[in-house]
């Protein structure tokens, strides 16, 4: 083969350079082609949740299930993707309820056997409302949190700076900083489960059916019948967040 040194170096150099560039380019392309769960059409769903206060017994099963399913810290105060609050409302002071949530309801509640004259007691499970117009998404400076096309508010932990703007912006206090990663963490509505046709861990573990995952885009979902026959309410409707956690039997004292 008749080839001088210069031509050889030129060709090899070009080849090395191009291979490297191509590999880099392919990396970028392949990121964009991450595999969706098989058979899942992101545009065919609009997820939300129905919470029936009348059925909640304050057992804390949902809180325990959520932490187990999503690897949420159990020994750190304030790391809850879902939690249960207990309200005690005096009939002569409806605006100032006594609220307790020991360890988020993780260990259940010490039963109140004597609630006192004229005191109403009930439990309110809380979680991310997966707002359609989320205040938390609007304030994120880097696009690390977003409303997915199927109506779930998610966090991109690789992009999150941990600046805490969204923690302040959420009117429902549903976000916290994960001390392990120093990035924000929140309920994903068990996105890894619902995209595979399962229900969320909290709904799976709820013994009374007080919590129900609903798909508002699915015409066969019982949610449509429920919403037609029941009076429901969202938390802080005055903020126009488009919250999709629909509460049945919600008391006006709940904040």
């Amino acid at each position: 083969m008749n080839q001088d040194r210069r031509a050889f170096l030129d060709q090899t150099g070009a080849l090395l350079l191009l291979t490297g560039t191509a590999a880099l380019a392919w990396d970028f392309v392949s990121i964009g082609r991450a595999q969706e769960a098989p058979g899942y059409d992101v545009h065919a769903h609009w997820w939300g949740m129905i919470i029936d206060i009348e059925k909640c017994i304050g057992c804390g099963n949902c809180v325990r299930a959520c932490k187990a399913e999503n690897n949420v810290l159990t020994d750190h105060p304030g790391t809850f993707r879902t939690w249960v609050e207990r309200y005690q409302v005096r009939s002569d002071d409806l605006d100032r309820p006594t609220v307790d949530s020991p360890n988020g309801g993780y260990d259940g509640f010490d039963p109140i056997t004597e609630p006192g004259e004229g005191v109403k007691v009930f439990f309110v499970p809380k979680l991310c409302n997966h707002c359609a117009h989320s205040p938390c998404v609007q304030v994120c400076p880097v696009g690390a949190t977003f409303e997915s096309p199927d109506g779930v508010v998610l966090v991109d932990k690789d992009r999150c700076l941990g600046c805490r703007y969204c923690v302040q912006a959420c009117p429902y206090s549903c976000r916290y900083i994960d001390p392990r990663t120093h990035t924000v963490d929140k309920c994903t509505l068990c996105y890894h489960r619902i995209t595979k046709g399962l229900t969320t861990a909290c709904c799976e573990a709820c013994p009374t059916g007080a919590r129900q995952l609903v798909d508002l885009k699915n015409p066969a979902d019982p949610v449509h019948e429920f919403l037609r026959t029941h009076k429901v309410h969202v938390l802080k409707p005055n903020l126009a967040t488009g919250a999709k956690a629909y509460y049945h039997g919600l008391d006006g004292s709940v904040r």
């Binding site: 970028f28 899942y40 861990a201």
Partner: protein
Amino acid sequence: VANRFENVQHVIRVALIFAIGLVSFFVLRGFFVPSDFGLEGFYRAGARVDAQALPLQYAGEADCLTCHVDVADLRAANRHKAVSCETCHGPNKAHVDDPTTVKPARVNAETFCVTCHAKGAGKPAFLPQIVAADHYGTACVDCHAPHKPRIDAGGEAAARRPE
């Protein structure tokens, strides 16, 4: 020919700096912004798919019922029919994946039954509630079979019920 550009040298210089700036902007952007950013909105579309990849802990009732049909039938005919398996038995995806070696932990009925059934204000009337201290003082499962909680008159559990 050199004279032709003599009076626009300063413009060319500025244009060159601008061009270099523009090119380096796009090169740096290519490095720092993932290519799937913005495909669906102001976020990395792959992050949504990443969120689907988390491992399961709760298998879901359908998986349990592929094997435990007898228990399911018994439960379906009794009061715990609406309570899913993993509500009491805990997350058991590992058991579903490897039924022979991974066994579900036993439910500690002493402490678990009362998380629902302890009498307390705020619990709905449909839920049977007891004050544990006043309730016979024996283990729950001595009388109440969890998959068939109601005590049959004259049944085996009723015979064991303390007076």
